[in-house]
């Protein structure tokens, strides 16, 4: 299973506001649960999602343990020029995932 799923339109008009949906497959262990032996399960979450458009950061989100498992974040950006959108997730225990999507602006 792909670790991440991102929905970005492949084509857009210049100046159009496009919607971007991102989802990363991650358990998001919140650090408040216990095992049957009563030991706390260590926190293991994604802490940050960053989106850059041709190298310029357009969106950044800090996630906390109260995000649901498989964190879904949807946002918008203005289609300014053709290029690539880079997505990067970072989290606990060295978690890191990235994805890039190409967009053609007419």
């Amino acid at each position: 299973m792909a670790p991440v799923v991102v929905t970005v339109p492949t084509q857009a008009k210049r100046g159009e506001v496009i919607e971007i949906k991102t989802l990363a497959a991650h358990v998001m262990e919140n650090g408040f649960r216990r095992t049957q032996m009563g030991e706390l399960i260590a926190r293991d979450i994604i802490t940050q999602v960053v989106c850059t458009y041709n190298g310029v950061e357009v969106f950044r989100a800090e996630l906390h343990p109260a995000m649901a498992a498989n964190p879904f974040v949807a946002f918008t950006t203005v289609a300014t020029e053709s290029g690539t959108l880079e997505f990067k997730w970072t989290g606990d225990n060295g978690y890191s995932a990235s994805h890039s999507a190409a967009i053609t602006v007419t």
Partner: protein, 156 residues
């Protein structure tokens, strides 16, 4: 000699009350309130929260607190001079109030955001928008949760 009635009263009473006392902090309500106020103060830096401009969409009744879809829309022209800098989402009854902080800018085009959060208990969800002029706007929505997100023991 212990009668059946006395035996049931003693054991039943002990079984029913001790686990609850062992798990829940008696000051849980105050602690949650203080944690939320502290989180809001950290976000705003003491600036007043104003009502309006923010629209928070959450279902008023959710079956499963593990995934609560929500979306936030802020009324803003999103120009370089006047835009939303950040959207913060907090919950009232979770062990940690923070859910998400999103940093936006004029490149966002529209100030909208969707995400899914966890909720431990019935209570308010609060969205706070931080504007480029330094003002803070918020909306709180009350949500009833029938099945809470996994929290087997002491909250906070």
């Amino acid at each position: 000699m212990t009668t059946r009635r006395q035996f049931l009263f003693l054991t039943g009473g002990a079984l029913a009350t001790t686990p609850v006392l062992a798990q829940l902090d008696p000051n849980i309500a105050q602690k949650r309130k203080a944690a939320l106020e502290e989180a809001i103060r950290k976000v705003t830096g003491g600036a007043p929260l104003r009502q309006g401009r923010v629209k928070l969409d959450v279902a008023p009744l959710v079956d499963n607190g593990n995934t609560v879809p929500l979306s936030v829309t802020v009324q803003s022209p999103m120009t370089a001079a006047d835009h939303v800098k950040a959207i913060h989402i907090l919950t009232e009854k979770n062990p940690q109030p923070h859910v998400l902080t999103a940093h936006l800018g004029p490149r966002a085009g529209r100030a909208t955001l969707s995400a899914r959060c966890r909720m431990a208990d019935t209570g308010n969800v609060i969205a706070i928008a931080q504007m480029s002029d330094g003002s803070f706007w918020s909306e709180a929505v009350s949500v009833i949760v029938t099945l809470s997100a996994c929290l087997e023991d002491g909250l906070i």
